[in-house]
Symmetry: C2
């Protein structure tokens, strides 16, 4: 019997792996997450399947790669045909509660085509990506009716039709003017909301209230913070918790700009990269970013303390991860997308309370993990493994419960990019059909295949910071070839035969004679 | 203005390209189809996207490759998420009428999941693959309620609960015993039904009746014959129309059996291949197969004569093709599947009545054509091109209307195999997830990539009969590599972002500021 009664799946938005102290940050202390890692296990090499919110999250929520779930960028709806974690749980009579962000774009056209009433129970479930919304809050837009946050702010005296814009992401400059966190030059200022009224505090409260309401009843909760994603406005005192000198050194050099990959060069022309190419921007934003992370850790400490006191640490599987990282000026880039480890590698901590997981408790595991592993892992923890003809990830219990050396595990991870919606596509003169790229990352290599553009290759052993693109190095042609072969193999194994289970295939094998069909008899 | 008011899409089942006289058969005369080719154009190099009924047809009906539509074998339901030709036409207020076979397996699980009432208009349309069924008749099973054929037979005196089994595919042997066409040894005998009561005659009558009922009203009809597919029982006089010496020579040699590809070798162990490996079987079946084709041609002549008299030849786009070929003992194989031209190449005749098509009238075109081209071609003929984010085929009008030499066209075609349901998978000890293969065929090469099995390669210039597998020839490693690269490129360009149109992507490009999101501003 599994000891797991509840699941708490925590996601931070745009959080780089190297920005937790348990992952080696020398100045930014994250004691709550470090303690969680000590009680569970920490994956040193966890990677997302896309370096941007929407497709990455859809891989976390469906257990399938972007090429399969089809929601390849933030504005692409998740097809009604895709089955999410929430729907798997609903099939077991459980709910997947949501506090925070999902980035689900409902497939309205698909629902209309199939005459699914958006107001019906099914329609609501599909439009919400399978979640039961305690409080959906996607952040970086003025929150809508689905979140209680604007009303909460107004109750606490932030008198505005749009308190998020006027208070949460606003500050007051030296001249007493209210200025916006959309302009990154202002994020050294404290947010105009008091810390207990910030987004991170509010969403932690939602999770705490939910756990209290559930009492001893089992639950599965996705607690999905919108921070440290931009706008990078931190409430006091976190806005000044770190100085610019307490941030990680910039990972960039001038050689990167010479003969750069044409699509990377196009990304560098986008506004966020131009802004982050200045040291001034980096020295203002990075301390605020770190402050937001420290704040998050403090609230997680509050949450974990409650869980401890309520006995929930003994029967709750906790996963903490992020949807992708943030360049913050590394590689002369801002924001996310593309395929550097800065963006692709995320923290991934799992605290499995079961006795079997004692095998790895407190350890840092080097096995490669991907976003698609989340659904299989949660379903396995709850005792009802998902369908193997749909799920493309693996159960992390295989690692957490002590892997037999003979059990194979993956030795590379895959990620995808659809830049159809970005200025970089326009700059490259491409169509929405050929603005795509795929990455294969092994222990040693980062390889990127671009449609109708040159390849990229980085030797992560010789060049861990990914400065030197060997995509056109003739000495590395055979390496690139071998990685293209991996990509081909992976693409071909994609799970696209979705309408019949493997068990049904087994049953139907050679079934023609039972069906009265006798072809081939002489 | 297009001259096309109606579309007649005729499919034969399991008809090899080389079994029409206009495609070079020296003994089997097919004057009606030859005349159609003379009035239209004939594609010399038309290929299916899968060498088996279900997936091939789903590519014809959706305009998408099997890896995308997901119905990878006969028993795999077509996902409710896939849009068929019938649904595209329904969106224009037109119906796609069906007389005959579709091999659609309804996605009952998908409909149940999405609470689509199978009895509703939508449910019926989806379950029928978008067709309005005049008479659905999939053949090679006892027909169900959806076809009027059993009742028709009983009305004509074939007194039986199952007149198909007892009469249509039965014969009477020299000892007066009723014997079954399931046993191929019996197909030299005439069917127990009179020719006018045969499947081919019946279905032609359905089409004729439909055209007459429509009067001058526009229509789109899929006339889909179940012949010359097994059981190979032909009615008199067609059962003896050809002698064994009037059949094509067997395309096989003993070298093929030495060191054969392991999956091909496994197919050769299946019953149909064992049967067809004997000359006796070949000499009995091939004449009957040819008789069934000649019968089909005679009925098409009847149909085309009516159309001529009714003025329909002037305003009807006619397409004639097949879902795949039939080995009939070639390569020591029976039935279909795998990737030889015998099975992959099909007849493909298009009669476009519009003036623009005069450019190619009566010609044999060498450009490569695939099943996925059907939907774009029909939609273009009717004046409402389909969505380019879903359709993977091309409009054949580009060729039929006289291609400018500067207009690019494809130089290879792709086909797919899922042998999960076959004995060959069991013989190879594989799972339902890795019993797959893909073929790339160019002018010169036939390349096959198998999951976890050796490659195959044939040099079609030096070895047009595909006897010598160069899959392990070290001299051809670079050729195989180049073809794997083509396969990778094709797989990556697959249209899997199905929930948003390219036009919507264009509109949403750079739209964040309009949505109130200002990331990246300093």
């Amino acid at each position: 019997m599994s000891a797991v009664q509840n699941v708490l799946f925590i996601m931070a938005d745009q959080l780089r792996a190297d920005h937790l102290s348990c992952y080696g940050h020398p100045y930014l202390q994250t004691p709550s997450l470090d303690a969680l890692a000590a009680r569970g296990a920490r994956f040193e090499r966890a990677f997302v399947n896309s370096g941007v919110c929407g497709p990455s999250r859809m891989s976390y929520y469906t257990g399938r790669y972007p090429s399969r779930h089809g929601a390849t960028w933030n504005r692409v709806p998740l097809s009604v045909n895709e089955i999410t974690l929430g729907e798997y749980l609903a099939g077991q009579g459980r709910e997947l509660a949501l506090a925070g962000k999902t980035h689900i774009i409902p497939d309205k056209a698909g629902m209309e085509r199939l005459a699914i009433d958006g107001a019906s129970e099914l329609g609501v479930l599909l439009a919400r990506g399978g979640f039961t919304e305690l409080d959906r809050y996607d952040g970086h837009h003025t929150p809508g009716e689905e979140s209680g946050y604007p009303a909460f702010l107004r109750r606490h005296g932030y008198d505005s039709a749009d308190p998020w814009t006027d208070y949460v992401i606003a500050g007051v400059d030296a001249d007493g003017r209210v200025v916006s966190g959309w302009n990154m030059r202002n994020v050294h200022l404290p947010s105009r909301v008091a810390e207990p009224h910030s987004e991170t505090a509010y969403m932690t409260d939602q999770a705490l209230d939910f756990m209290k309401r559930r009492g001893g009843q089992p639950w599965v909760l996705h607690l999905s913070y919108v921070k440290p994603h931009w706008p990078y406005m931190a409430p006091a005192p976190y806005h000044q918790r770190y100085t610019a000198d307490q941030c990680l050194p910039l990972r960039r050099n001038h050689e990167e700009l010479a003969d750069a990959h044409p699509v990377v060069a196009a990304y560098r022309q986008q506004e966020e990269s131009v802004s982050f190419s200045s040291d001034e921007c980096v020295r203002v934003v990075r301390p605020a970013y770190q402050g937001l992370i420290r704040q998050l850790d403090d609230h997680l400490g509050r949450l974990f303390d409650y869980m401890e006191s309520a006995g929930l640490m003994k029967n709750t599987l906790i996963v903490f991860t992020a949807d992708h990282g943030d360049f913050l000026g590394d590689h002369w880039l801002g924001e996310k997308e593309l395929f550097y480890d800065t963006v692709q590698r995320v923290p991934f901590i799992v605290m499995d309370p079961s006795v079997e997981a004692d095998a790895t408790r407190g350890k840092a595991l080097a096995d490669m993990v991907e976003s698609v592993d989340l659904v299989p892992t949660v379903l396995r923890a709850l005792g009802t493994p998902g369908p193997c003809h749909l799920l493309e990830g693996r159960e992390l219990q295989t690692l957490l419960h002590g892997r037999d050396g003979a059990t194979p595990w993956r030795d590379c991870v895959f990620s995808e990019l659809d830049y159809s919606f970005r200025q970089a596509r326009i700059l490259r003169g491409k169509t929405p059909q050929n603005a795509r790229a795929w990455s294969v990352r092994t222990d040693r290599w980062r390889y990127v295949y671009w449609l109708d553009e040159p390849e990229q290759l980085f030797d992560l052993h010789a060049d861990p910071d990914e400065y030197q693109d060997l995509g056109r190095s003739s000495a590395h042609a055979s390496t690139r070839l071998a990685l293209r072969e991996r990509l081909l193999d992976w693409m071909l194994r994609g799970k696209r035969r979705t309408t019949i289970s493997d068990e049904a295939v087994e049953k139907a094998t050679n079934a023609h004679k039972r069906a009265g069909v006798f072809f081939g008899q002489w």
